[in-house]
Amino acid sequence: MADAGMLRFHVPEPEVRPGGTPDFSNVTIPKAGSVPRPEVNVDPRTIRDMAFSIIRVLNRAGEAVGPWAGLLTDEELLEGLRHMMTLRSFDARMQMAQRQGKTSFYMQHLGEEAVSCAFRKALQPGDMNFPTYRQAGLLIADGYPMVAMMNQIYSNEADPLKGRQLPIMYSSKEHGFFSISGNLATQYIQAVGWAMASAISNDSRIAAAWIGDGSTAESDFHAALVFASTYKAPVVLNVVNNQWAISTFQGIARGGSGTFAARGLGFGIPSLRVDGNDYLAVHAVAKWAIERARRNLGPTLVEYVTYRVGAHSSSDDPSAYRPKAESDAWPLGDPIIRLKNHLIHKQVWTEQRHIQAEAEILETVIAAQKEAESHGTLHAGGKPSTRDMFEGVYAETPPHLRRQRQQAGV
């Protein structure tokens, strides 16, 4: 046997670090409209190449092209634009509120608004999302009140979660939004379990699991794929690849598989990649995957290729690990600008109306913020009671907790 020499250890590195020139030349972007749209009952073995491509609808001229186009009316597109703009405006105000000391923590969606806003519109009432911390568009696009979100962020006296949970870890069964944990990947297998339960109960509702690129490395991600594949659970397995897991570039979690979508192939799960900054493409692919689930065809894995323009959270400064201008160089552009340009191209929207809408939305967000702040912020005004701290640990408070509550004087 030939001598292979010393073993060498390999640690992947991103293309560029701070001080360098952003370079996405290695990211292959297929032309909009170039990826075919198979029937939902396609044999997964025949569409394996879709795990390595990117489904896109909006081209650079603002036109919707190809087999995945044409599913949404102008009204629906205008509503989608409004949802994304609302989320961005909401984020900006809450990020500022965190900087003003009104809450401890915040996480924004900048650049990723299309993913959760468009996905929500492909679901039916009763379907259940198991989100991670960057899918608030699921709530915004489903009409969940912004004031309730802000009350939760402020942990104030009107907080639906009674001050028990970190800001932005919302919960709303009514709006198909499972309680966010803050732990990573745990929700992925729970979503599969929920979907299994729906199938066991001969229901028609489906589940959607959400995870980021970095957390796909957790074992719960792999457990979820095994269970989803084995039981053909009616679940859509979403992976939001925003390129960065705090400071860690996606290559650390992805390893040698080429794409995150490719993770699904070994499980026989149809696996698609989609332009996450293209509202129309996200919605079309979501609809396809949801229909597969609803028709008992089993799980679908969808990788949304996007870019986290903002910091990971209010506690993070990305300039320490990536070039400042990297987001400007991101080849898939900005989801709001792209949908806006499409609507202008369709002559149902104008720059002027867009500016007007921005102002109106900001006014709505500020009004909601004022209302929320009338119930208090983290360190000022009304807050949940100490008694609230002791409740809800169990359905019925056991004796040892009752004793401790008495010791605390409540």
Binding site: M128, F130, P160, L161, K162, R164, Q165, M169, S171, S172, K173, F178, S179, S181, N183, T186, Y188, I189, Q190, A191, V192, G193, W194, A195, M196, A197, S198, I200, S201, A207, S219, D220, A223, A224, V226, F227, T230, G392, V393, Y394, A395, E396, P398, P399, H400
Partner: protein, 337 residues
């Protein structure tokens, strides 16, 4: 009344629960067609179909994580982890998810699941088939932890656990599956058919979580025990002739503190016994509670008898296991103190 083994009693509890409530789903590794490596689920798939009882992949976090999702949907999963020693991959799901779901969502989502697992040693199972991890669960807010010691209790407690609105860790002392084992490993096993607590009523009944049982009335010293150690303590009392009051805790959390305090105030002495390793074991909590609540009634220090602080060994099983001789010594020393 029919006599059953603990395995049969546990199976009967699931059978009764599945018949009464179609939301009850049973699954785990080898649980479906085969009926479990200890046969606790034998026949359930044939009776209730593959929708209600099925085999799971070897992924404890997957089993518990999917059960949490099912509970959030509205089902009542009762899942099996093949050995308590294998529960650690599911620990994150149990601690960070099942235990906290109600709290963090303010009752928006709840988690009525049961995680069953065989616990304890005495079968030459070595490090990976002998552990007693109950303290890892009693330390977690939001969980209930149950350890039955006989077929009658096992059935009533398991039905109560399945009907409970919160997550329950149900630890089954595997050395008790086929008979009350008192630690005298050289003696032939007494079958449950010869023991009065092997009497298991047909149909539905529950034993409330959080209620202890006095297994032996006594006036000299209180022994706090659960699972296999209940019988070891009984043997130790008989062999030393000490009039011990033996309390079978049955549920570790919620704990029946009233029963403990009443007994220790009466006897003035207390020995805590468990199979799990000593340091930071549940016995530490029991000893602390006894001194907090009964200090001025105590005539001797609270003693603890537990597994040594080593991994569970293979060849040295009976040197490790806190058998009747060690418990007996603690009783004598506590009486002499």
């Amino acid at each position: 009344m029919p006599r059953r083994t603990m395995i049969e009693a546990i199976r009967d509890a699931m059978d009764v629960s599945m018949a009464r409530d179609e939301r009850v789903i049973v699954y785990g590794e080898d649980v479906g067609f085969f009926g479990g490596v200890f046969r606790c689920t034998q026949g359930l798939q044939a009776k209730y179909g593959k929708n209600r009882c099925f085999d799971a992949p070897i992924s404890e976090s997957g089993i518990v994580g999917s059960a949490i999702g099912m509970a959030a949907y509205g089902l009542r999963p009762c899942v099996e982890v093949q050995f308590a020693d294998y529960v650690y991959p599911a620990y994150d799901q149990i601690v960070s998810e099942a235990a906290r779901l109600r709290y963090r969502s303010n009752n928006d989502f709840t988690c009525p699941i049961v995680v069953r697992m065989p616990t304890g040693g005495g079968i030459f199972g070595g490090q990976t088939h002998s552990q007693s991890p109950e303290a890892l669960f009693t330390h977690v807010s939001g969980l209930k932890t149950v350890v039955p010691s006989n077929p009658h209790d096992a059935k009533g407690l398991l039905i109560a656990a399945i009907e409970d609105p919160d997550p329950v860790i149900f630890l089954e002392p595997k050395r008790l599956y086929n008979g009350p084992f008192d630690g005298h490993h050289d003696n032939p096993v007494t079958p449950w058919s010869k023991h009065e607590l092997g009497e298991v009523a047909d149909g539905h009944y529950t034993i409330p979580l959080g209620k202890a049982a006095i297994r032996r009335q006594g006036s000299a010293v209180t022994v706090l025990a659960y699972g296999t150690m209940v019988y070891v303590a009984q043997a130790a009392a008989a062999e030393t002739g000490i009039d011990a009051e033996i309390i079978d805790l049955r549920t570790l959390l919620p704990l029946d503190l009233d029963a403990i305090v009443a007994s220790v105030k009466k006897t003035g002495r207390c020995v805590v016994v468990h199979e799990a390793t000593l340091t930071s074991g549940f016995g530490a909590e029991l000893a602390a509670l006894v001194q907090e609540n009964c200090f001025y009634h105590l005539e001797a220090p609270v003693a603890r008898v537990a597994g040594w602080d080593t991994p569970y060994p293979h060849a040295q099983e009976w040197e490790y296991f806190p058998g009747p001789a060690r418990v007996g010594r603690a009783l004598v020393e506590t009486m002499e103190a």
